[in-house]
C-alpha cells in the first residue's frame, strides 16, 4: 500500500542531485579578481586580450590563477588582494585609458560546474555593500528638446529647398512655421511631410495667415520617451564604465526611471558626480552685433536670443549673446578625446557622425568668420565651453575644441562627451549607500538567525514526532536545498529581506509536515492500521496543505507584483519557497516514509 514505484525514487534522486549540483556553487568562496573592459565605444575587448592581460600580470610578478573572457570583458583571478591590486596597476599602466580596469570578486566555482550554468546566488547591495541610485528622467525636457531639434531640421530643410519662411517657433507642444502665402505653404507642407514622416503636419490658412503646425502624435511621443530612457541608460552605462565598477546594474524601472547599482563603490560622491551630471553639448551661433549685446546686457534680450557667460582662459567671465536655435547636439557626437592642439594647449577632439558632419560642414561654410559656441548644458544651465571663430569650412566630421580649459577640464569634458549625452536630464529620487562591513554583517546575521531557527525546529520535531519528525526534518532540509538551487539557477538577487523570507518559509514549511504528522496520529487514534493511517494521513492533509499554501501564495504574488527592490526579493523567495515546500512536504516526506515503512507487511506501530 505505502510503496512508491521505482521511477518515483529515481525521479526524487534526480531532483535531489540536480538541486545539490545547482546549490553547490554557493559553498565555494570568492577570490579577488581584475576585470578588463572597454573604456570607449570604439574599443572592443576580445578573447585575444586574455593572454595579453595575463602576460602583463605575470610580468609584474603576479600570475593569475584563472583568466577568461566573458560578456565583453576579460576576467583574471588572483590568490589574494595584494596581487590583485598589483595586477590592476600593472594592467592599467600597460593598457592605458582606453580600457577600464576594475577590481572584482569572482566565485571560485570550479569550471565544470560553471559549464553546467551552475552559479552562486547573486547578492543584493545590502549584502555586499555599494551604492544604489534611482534616477528619474525628466520627460518634459526630453520632449522640449525634441521639438527644438525638429524646429532646426525644418529650418534647414526649407533653406535647402529654397522655400522662403517667416518665424519658426517652438510652442508648448508643437512647432509653428510662418509662411508668406498659400503657394509657399503648399510647398513647405510637401517638403516637411517628406522630411518628418512620423510627425503630424497641418496646414492652417486663416485671414491671410499661413502657418504650418508640426505636432508629435501619441505614438511618436511614446517612442520619443522610450528612446529618451534608452539613450540615458546607454549613457549611464558608459559613464559608469568610466568609474571602473565591476558588474554594475543599470535597468529601467517603470516608465521613466532608471536603477543604477554599483556594488563595492566607496567613493559615493564621485559616483554621484559622474552619474548626476546631465551634461549635453550644444552648438549654437554667436551674435556678435555689439548693439544687440549691449541691449541684452541691459536686461532686454532680443527674441530668439539668449545671454550667457563665457569663461576666458584668463579666468574672466564675459557675456556672450547666442542664438536660441541649436544647430547640433551631443547626440551627433561619436567620440571625444582630450589632447592638445597645435599650440600645445589642452583641447578636446570631437568625432561627429554622418549627420553631424553634414550639419557641421554646412554650418561652418555658411558662417565663416563668425563665431560658433560649444555649450555644455548641465542641469538646465548652459555654460559656454568655448566660442571659436570659424576659419573655414570644416568637413569630415573631425572637430577640435580648444581655448579656455586646463588639462583636467579637457579630460573631464571629453569624458562627459565621450560617454554620450543624456537625452533628458535626470534627478536622483532615491539613493542608498551600504558600507561593505554592514553588508557582511547582514549576511552573517541573516544566516545565523536562519540556522538557529532551523536547528530549534529540527530538534523539536525529532523529539516530538520521532521517526516522522526525522523525516520532516529531512524534508525541510530538502526544501532548503531546492530553494537555494532555484534561487541560484534563476539568478534571483538575494537581499536581506530575501534571507528573512528563507527563514520565514522554513518556519511555515514545517506546517505541512505538522499537518501530516498530526493527521497520522489522529488516524491511529481512531483505530486505523498503521498502513491505513499513513495512507489516510497524507491524503487528508493534502487538501489542507493545498488550500493553506495557495492562500499564502496569493499574498506572495501580490508582493511580487507591487514590490520593488528589496521587497521584491522577499516576494520571490517567499513564492518559490511555498512551492518547494509543498513539493518536499508531500513528495519527499512520503517517499521517505514509504521507504521506511512501506515494505513491512506486519507493521504494528508507527514511531510518531
Amino acid at each position: 500500500m505505502n510503496r512508491y514505484p521505482l521511477w518515483k525514487y529515481i525521479l526524487l534522486i534526480i531532483c535531489l542531485v540536480l538541486a545539490a549540483l545547482y546549490a553547490l556553487p554557493n559553498l565555494f568562496g570568492e577570490s579577488p579578481a581584475v576585470q578588463v573592459s572597454s573604456g570607449r565605444v570604439t574599443v572592443k575587448v576580445t578573447e585575444a586580450m586574455v593572454t595579453q592581460a595575463s602576460q602583463i600580470a605575470t610580468a609584474a610578478g603576479v600570475t593569475p590563477i584563472d583568466a577568461y573572457f566573458e560578456a565583453g570583458s576579460v576576467k583574471l583571478r588572483f590568490k589574494d588582494t595584494d596581487s590583485q591590486i598589483k595586477a590592476k596597476d600593472a594592467i592599467q599602466a600597460a593598457l592605458g585609458t582606453d580600457y577600464v580596469i576594475a577590481l572584482n570578486l569572482l566565485s571560485d566555482t570550479p569550471p565544470w560546474l560553471s559549464k553546467l550554468h551552475a552559479k552562486p546566488m547573486v547578492l543584493g547591495l545590502d549584502l555586499r555593500g555599494g551604492v544604489h541610485f534611482l534616477l528619474e528622467v525628466d520627460m518634459k525636457a526630453a520632449v522640449d528638446k525634441a521639438l527644438e531639434k525638429t524646429a532646426g531640421d525644418v529650418r534647414r530643410e526649407l533653406k535647402d529647398k529654397k522655400i522662403r519662411y517667416g518665424k519658426i517657433s517652438k510652442e508648448r507642444d508643437r512647432v509653428e512655421v510662418q509662411l508668406r502665402d498659400a503657394e509657399t505653404l503648399a510647398a513647405a507642407d510637401k517638403a516637411i511631410r517628406q522630411l518628418l514622416v512620423n510627425l503630424k503636419v497641418d496646414s492652417v490658412s486663416t485671414d491671410g495667415n499661413f502657418k504650418l503646425l508640426i505636432t508629435y502624435p501619441e505614438t511618436a511621443l511614446l517612442q520619443l520617451k522610450n528612446d529618451a530612457v534608452k539613450q540615458n541608460i546607454t549613457t549611464l552605462h558608459n559613464r559608469v564604465n568610466e568609474l571602473g565598477v565591476a558588474e554594475p546594474v543599470i535597468q529601467q524601472q517603470g516608465e521613466g526611471r532608471i536603477v543604477v547599482q554599483l556594488p563595492g563603490v566607496q567613493d559615493t560622491a564621485k559616483a554621484k558626480d559622474i552619474l548626476g551630471r546631465t551634461a549635453t553639448l550644444e552648438v549654437r551661433l554667436v551674435e556678435d552685433d555689439q548693439a544687440k549685446l549691449t541691449e541684452a546686457m541691459n536686461g532686454n534680450v532680443p527674441a530668439g536670443y539668449e545671454l550667457m557667460t563665457e569663461r576666458r582662459a584668463d579666468g574672466r567671465s564675459v557675456p556672450i549673446l547666442l542664438r536660441k536655435e541649436v544647430e547640433l547636439t551631443g547626440e551627433n557626437i561619436n567620440d571625444a578625446q582630450a589632447g592638445f592642439d597645435d599650440h600645445n594647449a589642452p583641447a578636446v577632439h570631437l568625432g561627429l557622425d554622418a549627420t553631424g558632419a553634414t550639419i557641421f560642414k554646412d554650418l561652418t561654410r555658411e558662417n565663416v568668420n563668425k563665431r560658433i559656441a560649444m555649450i555644455l548644458v548641465e542641469k538646465g544651465k548652459g555654460e559656454v565651453v568655448t566660442a571659436p571663430v570659424v576659419r573655414g569650412e570644416i568637413g569630415g566630421g573631425r572637430v577640435q575644441i580648444s581655448g579656455s580649459m586646463g588639462v583636467a577640464e579637457a579630460n573631464d569634458t571629453a569624458l562627459l562627451l565621450r560617454a554620450g549625452s543624456l537625452a533628458a536630464p535626470m534627478n536622483i529620487v532615491e539613493e542608498r549607500t551600504i558600507g561593505p562591513s554592514l553588508g557582511k554583517e547582514n549576511i552573517s546575521k541573516g544566516f545565523n538567525s536562519t540556522l538557529y531557527g532551523f536547528a530549534a525546529i529540527a530538534i523539536f520535531m525529532m523529539i516530538y514526532y520521532r521517526v516522522f519528525g526525522v523525516v520532516s526534518t529531512l524534508a525541510l532540509g530538502a526544501n532548503l536545498l531546492f530553494l537555494i538551487a532555484l534561487l541560484s539557477l534563476l539568478g534571483i538577487t538575494l537581499t536581506l529581506p530575501g534571507i528573512a523570507a528563507i527563514a520565514l518559509t522554513l518556519g511555515m514549511a514545517i506546517d505541512s509536515n505538522v499537518l501530516i504528522n498530526e493527521r497520522v496520529r489522529e488516524e491511529l487514534r481512531e483505530g486505523m492500521s498503521p498502513h491505513m493511517a499513513i495512507q489516510n494521513g497524507y491524503k487528508h492533509a493534502f487538501d489542507t496543505i493545498l488550500d493553506s499554501n495557495i492562500t499564502t501564495l496569493i499574498a506572495g504574488l501580490a508582493l511580487l507584483i507591487f514590490g520593488s527592490g528589496a521587497v521584491r526579493g522577499f516576494a520571490w523567495v517567499h513564492c518559490l519557497g511555498i512551492m518547494t515546500s509543498m513539493f518536499s512536504a508531500v513528495f519527499v516526506s512520503r517517499a521517505l516514509i514509504n521507504l521506511i515503512y512501506g515494505r513491512r507487511r506486519h507493521l504494528t506501530t508507527l514511531s510518531v
Binding site: V514, T544, A555
Partner: protein, 311 residues
C-alpha cells in the same frame, strides 16, 4: 510524545461573546492608537535622508543629537540602533540640498567632535517615490484581500471568505496599532512582513475551516449542533496549530534576536502577527462564521434524488 491531546472538545464557541468582546476591544484600541499617534513612517514612505553611523567606542546619544541639531535641519531624529555604538540619524528632505551634501555635512560636523565615527549606510528617498510606495502598498493590501476572498469563495463559501478576511484585517490592524503605540518605524520591510502575515494568518483560518467542512461531512458528527462541530474542528486541529505556530515563532524569534537592526521591524511585525494569527483563526474567524449563520447545508450540496428508471 504528545502535549495537546484533548479527549473532550473544548467549547470554544460558548466563549464566543467573550472573545468577540476582547477582539473588539483590542481592535478599537488599535484604531485609537492609529488615529491619535499615527504610524511612524520610515524614510521609504516619507522621503528624507537616513544615516546609520557606527562609533569606535560607545557614544552618548545626546552628544550626537546636539551635533546634528547644530546644523539646523528642522526635525532631525537621532536614535540608537540597539547598541551604544550604532546611531541612526533621520533628516527630512530639504529643498536645494542633495543627500550627499546633507550626509557630508552631518558626518563632518560629527567628525569634529568624535573622529571615530564611521558611516555605515545612507539612504535618501525623494518625496515622490514615497507617495508612490504608499499607493502601491495600499494596492497590494487590497489585491491580497480580493485574491484571498475570491479563492476562499471558490473553495468554500462566502461566509468562510468573509470571516477569514475580517479575522485577517483584525490582525493587520492590531499589528499597525502596536506599531503606532510604540512608534516603531514602519518601513517597507515591515509592510512586507504585514503582507506575509496576511497570507500566514489566512493560512491558519483555512486549516480550521477545512476541518469544519470535513466535520460537516462526517457521518458520526451528524447529530451535533453547528457550534459543537466547530468546537470539534478547533480542538482537533489545536495540536497542529500550536506546534506550527511554535515553529514559525521560533524562526521569527531567531530573526528578532539574531537578525540585527535591519530585520528588527520585519521580525517584530511577524511576531505579533503570529500571536494574533493563532488567536484570530480560532477565536475570531470561527465565531464570525457562526454569526454569519453557517449551517451544514451551506457546505454540503443537497443530494439530487435520482429518478428511478422504469424498465
Amino acid at each position: 510524545m504528545e502535549f495537546f491531546h484533548v479527549k473532550r472538545d473544548i467549547p470554544f464557541m460558548s466563549y464566543g461573546k467573550l472573545t468577540t468582546a476582547i477582539s473588539l476591544a483590542t481592535f478599537v484600541l488599535a484604531i485609537f492608537f492609529l488615529i491619535t499617534k499615527g504610524l511612524n513612517f520610515g524614510v521609504e514612505f516619507t522621503g528624507g535622508t537616513v544615516m546609520e553611523l557606527r562609533y569606535g567606542q560607545s557614544v552618548e546619544i545626546n552628544q550626537v543629537r546636539h551635533g546634528v541639531e547644530n546644523l539646523k535641519y528642522g526635525e532631525v531624529q537621532v536614535q540608537s540602533l540597539g547598541t551604544t555604538r550604532d546611531i541612526m540619524v533621520r533628516i527630512p528632505n530639504i529643498q536645494g540640498k542633495t543627500s550627499a551634501q546633507l550626509s557630508n555635512e552631518v558626518l563632518d560636523s560629527l567628525k569634529k567632535e568624535r573622529a571615530d565615527v564611521e558611516l555605515r549606510k545612507v539612504e535618501f528617498i525623494g518625496p515622490s517615490v514615497g507617495d508612490e510606495l504608499f499607493t502601491h502598498g495600499i494596492t497590494a493590501l487590497i489585491l491580497v484581500c480580493v485574491g484571498i476572498v475570491a479563492y476562499l469563495m471558490l473553495r468554500f463559501e462566502w461566509r468562510f471568505a468573509l470571516s477569514a478576511i475580517i479575522a485577517n484585517m483584525h490582525d493587520v490592524i492590531i499589528i499597525l496599532g502596536v506599531f503606532a503605540l510604540f512608534q516603531w518605524e514602519f518601513s517597507l520591510t515591515v509592510l512586507a512582513g504585514i503582507l506575509a502575515v496576511l497570507g500566514y494568518s489566512v493560512n491558519e483560518s483555512v486549516v480550521v475551516f477545512d476541518r469544519i467542512r470535513e466535520n460537516f461531512r462526517k457521518p458520526n458528527l451528524r447529530g451535533k449542533t453547528v457550534p459543537e462541530v466547530i468546537d470539534n474542528a478547533i480542538t482537533a486541529t489545536m495540536s497542529r496549530t500550536i506546534i506550527t505556530h511554535g515553529s514559525t515563532e521560533a524562526m521569527v524569534l531567531a530573526m528578532l534576536i539574531f537578525g540585527g537592526a535591519a530585520l528588527h521591524g520585519f521580525a517584530m511585525a511577524l511576531t505579533i502577527g503570529i500571536v494574533f494569527g493563532i488567536y484570530s483563526s480560532v477565536l475570531v474567524a470561527s465565531p464570525l462564521l457562526l454569526m454569519f449563520g453557517v449551517t451544514r447545508d451551506s457546505m454540503i450540496k443537497p443530494v439530487k434524488i435520482k429518478e428511478e428508471a422504469v424498465v
